[in-house]
Structure formats: structure tokens, C-alpha cells
Assembly symmetry: C2
Homo-oligomer: 259 residues x 2
DNA sequence: TGAGGATGGCGTACGATGTACAGTATTTTT
DNA sequence: AAAAATACTGTACATCGTACGCCATCCTCA
């Protein structure tokens, strides 16, 4: 029922935390906990039981510490979520793309992002808002921008195109993650849900009033049975995204030739 | 800190509620509350103070009722959110598009959806998950599918293209809504945030390590100052989306000519 | 060889949330 | 007039993030 947001804490504190710039003093007892350990434990819980299971109490329990002990290292839960995200960004694959052409490069970026969401479905429900400007995001941004090298787009266009591509992937991941979460919660797949509710819907729904919706909905529903739905959505959308970017590139190349 | 999800309740109960199919019996005291009144009050609170302010207690207070009185009419908060959404869908503009060509039709659909998100920014953070299969969504789906009439796409392609288009708009709305919410919470715009944190970031961030990110980020940051950022993102992305769909249409038309 | 001070960690407690449960009040039906 | 069904209310509970104050530990300086 509850969903979390990132980037809500004090900005300066968050930045120094993300870049691990806190000067470690000598006085005082040895820290038994570390930021990295806390982040790792939180990610583990999120992967295993979803974000809503990531409570300060649960994270502390996983580390055999008292709940309030976490606050020595992390200002609040919002910062913890930022740290979790950036940590995963930092760990993403950055294989040097073997210049297979820009379409393959961008498709690989999209697939890598989808894989990240797939491994950690909770990211899609947390990654909204201002992204954490940590080393992970920076490395990711740098790497992904390189995929646009030599396409003739200017800086603003490149950033917009990347944002467009990533937004598409995130949207797919969100829908896919929700579908999976629901299937788990209901112990019933989307297809099963439809079958269970079809007769009920038939009683209230007048096909004559919504002819197009009836026709298209039936065909789309049949085609999207099971987990195949999101895969198809991703494949279809990715082609549209790349075609759209291709048009932009063509126009820019043409303009450069004119000028 | 908390975000809500829809579609979590009992499916059959939700459907009868969405379509207002509950048989009203005669016995017992006159109802002082109605589903519509509850939904309207909840929407009012969400518009004024955000979804997180929509608590059962707050909605009840707005209706001068006790918190638990709501549960007579609405099974749970998840259903209430479903009802809020479907109610807004039902109220959307459905001007018959004056056949200006399919690009204008789809652009109008996108703009109408963006306007809805703009008037009720909280929708973007609630509209995840299985959509409420109520009269509002049905009417919306029917209307929007009509925008694809005569393009030569089959049913599955039409549904996929519409989902693609709407997903793009929702993503824009989510980012825009978050930016606005942050600006309100911090009493500081995104631009102001950047200025305040730039020196701090400069201390931890090594431009030599991320040359592309530095160059593109600076240009994109300058271009996206203020609220213009999301407008630009929407305009840019919409062109890409329509270009991508255009390619698909071209291919289908060509195939039909071949066959 | 202490004394002082900074720091890590903990126990308790508070306000907010959704909602279960057990009534009470009000109306129609028998 | 009694019974049954319905609308509403008051209280209570588990769970969450986290403010606050206390203690234990360790370095540093006298």
C-alpha cells in the first residue's frame, strides 16, 4: 500500500554521503556498522521481499543492530533509498559496445536497464523524483551518453534522447513489476484475473457502447497472456523509440549537409 | 514518503463499485454519505494537498463524518483510489477530432492526457498497476482508440501504439509532478537546487573522469531551467513517439500494397 | 597516568496510518 | 409491536519513521 520516494533529505548531506566524503574521525568507539553494510542489507531485503519490507527495523535486524543505530550512519530512510539506487547504478554492466551501429548500441543500453529493473523490480517504484547524483549515476550517465557519439546530435538533443529512451524502459519496468507483484500477491496471474472477472465485467459492460474497445481489447488481451505481455511491449516500444530517434538523426544529418 | 497503489482489493467488489451496481436496499437508516461524495471529497483533498494527504481520517473530516463511516461505502483505501481515478477519466474531454490528420489526433490525445495529469498531478503516482476497469477508463479507451482509425494497424498494434503513447505521457507527467512537488516542499526550484549544490558537487565530481557527462549535463541543465524542462521534454518526446509510429504505419501500408 | 571530549550505539516513546471489532441508532418489513 | 437489515460511531491495535536522552567506548592532551 505504501510506496517510497527518494531525494527528500538535506541535499548537502546526501551528496557527501553518496560520494562517501565523510571525514572519519579517530575518537570514539569503532563503528560496528558501515554505510555500505547498511545499503547492502537494505538491497537484500528489497530484492527478497519488496521495498515495502525495507523498514528501518528490518534493516537493523538483518545487521543484528538496534533500529536507531542506523541513524548514526544514514540521516533518514530517504537517503538510504538514494544510496541503494546509486549503489546499483554503480554495479551495472559497462561493456564497451563493439560498434555494431547506433541502433544496436542504444538497444543494448535499453536492455541493460531493463535487466537492472528485472533483477531489482522495486527500483521502478523508487526511482522517481530527482535522481541521486552519486558516483553510480554519474558513471551510468557518462557510459550511456557515449552510445550517442557521432550521431550528429547536439548536447541538448543527446540528453533529451537518452532521457526519452530511459523513460520508456522505466515505464515498461514499472508495468512489468506491478504485474509480477500483483500475480504474487493474488497468487493469480493477470490472465487468470481476466478469466475470473470476465463474466462479471460482461454483466456491466455494454459492447455496443464501446465497439472499438471491445474489439481491440479482446485481441490485445489474447495476445498479452502471461508474462509475454511486457516482453512484447518492450520489443514493440523499443522499435518505435529507435525509429523516432532515427528520424531525428536523419534530419540533423541532412541539416548539417545543407549548412 | 509514502505512495499508494491501486487495484489491491477484491476484484468483484471493486467492479460492482466502479459501475455503481450495488443494489440499494430499503431497510435501515437513510445513507448520509454516498460513494460519489466520498470520491469527490478525496479528489478535492488530493488536488489541494497531494495524495499523501488523502487519509481516511481526512476524507471523513471533510464530510463531517467519522473515519470508520467511509467503510460502509468503500471497502478500503485501495478501492477509493480506483474510484478517484475512474471518476477523473470519465470527466475527460472527448471533443470529436476534426480530422486534421492522424498526427494531430494523437497529439491531441497526448495533450489531453497531459492536461489531466497537470490538473491532478497525484494521478501519476497512483495510476500504476492494473487500471480500474470502470466506465471512465472504458470511455477513455474507446475514444482514444478511435484516434487510430484508418491507419492500417491491426488490433494488437493499435493497442500497443496507444499504450506506448500514453506511457510516454505518463512518464512526462510523473517527472513534472515530482519536480513541482519538490519545488513546493523545498521552497526551492530545481534551478535553485542546482545552484545551491553545484559547488558541493564540484568538490566531489571529477570532470576529467566524466567528460561527456560534464559537457552534456551542463548544456542540458542550462536548457532545462525552470518549468520549461518538462515542456521541452514533452514536446521533444512527442515528436519522437509520433515519428516512431509513423514508421510503423508506413511499413504496414507498404505491406498491404504488396499483399 | 589520568581527565576530557567526541563519537557509536541503544531503549523508550510519540504521532500518524489503515482498519478490525463490537456496539448503537434508524428505518422497513413482518 | 417485534424483527431484521442497514448506517454509523468509538475504541483499540499493529506498524511505521524517527526525536530524544543515555551510556559505552576510544583518542587526545595535560
Amino acid at each position: 500500500m505504501a510506496r517510497e520516494r527518494t531525494g527528500a533529505g538535506d541535499a548537502a548531506a546526501t551528496l557527501t554521503l553518496l560520494w562517501r566524503q565523510r571525514p572519519q574521525s579517530q575518537r570514539g568507539p569503532r563503528p560496528g556498522l558501515t554505510v555500505d553494510a547498511i545499503v547492502a542489507a537494505a538491497i537484500g531485503i528489497a530484492d527478497a521481499k519488496g521495498v515495502e519490507a525495507v523498514t528501518m527495523r528490518a534493516v537493523a535486524l538483518a545487521l543484528s543492530a538496534a533500529p536507531m543505530a542506523l541513524y548514526t550512519h544514514v540521516p533518514s530512510k530517504a537517503e538510504l533509498l538514494d544510496l541503494m539506487l546509486d549503489s546499483l547504478f554503480l554495479g551495472m554492466s559497462r561493456a564497451e559496445p563493439a560498434g555494431d551501429g547506433w541502433r544496436d548500441r542504444l538497444a543494448a543500453i535499453a536492455r541493460d536497464n531493463l535487466a537492472l529493473y528485472s533483477a531489482h523490480p522495486w527500483i521502478a517504484s523508487v526511482a522517481t523524483g530527482r535522481p541521486p547524483l552519486g558516483p553510480g549515476l554519474m558513471a551510468k550517465y557518462e557510459y550511456e551518453l557515449r552510445g550517442f557519439d557521432g550521431l550528429g546530435l547536439d548536447e541538448v538533443e543527446t540528453d533529451a534522447a537518452l532521457t526519452f529512451l530511459l523513460g520508456f524502459v522505466e515505464n515498461c519496468a514499472r508495468i512489468g513489476g506491478d504485474a509480477r507483484a500483483r500475480a504474487q500477491a493474488d497468487a493469480m496471474s493477470d490472465a487468470g484475473w481476466w478469466e475470473a472477472n470476465a463474466p462479471l465485467l460482461a454483466r456491466v459492460f455494454d459492447p455496443a457502447r464501446y465497439p472499438t474497445a471491445t474489439r481491440v481489447g479482446a485481441a490485445a488481451g489474447a495476445a498479452h497472456q502471461g508474462a509475454y505481455g511486457v516482453d512484447h511491449m518492450f520489443a514493440f516500444g523499443l522499435e518505435r523509440v529507435l525509429d523516432g530517434i532515427e528520424r531525428l538523426i536523419e534530419r540533423r544529418t541532412q541539416r548539417a549537409g545543407d549548412g
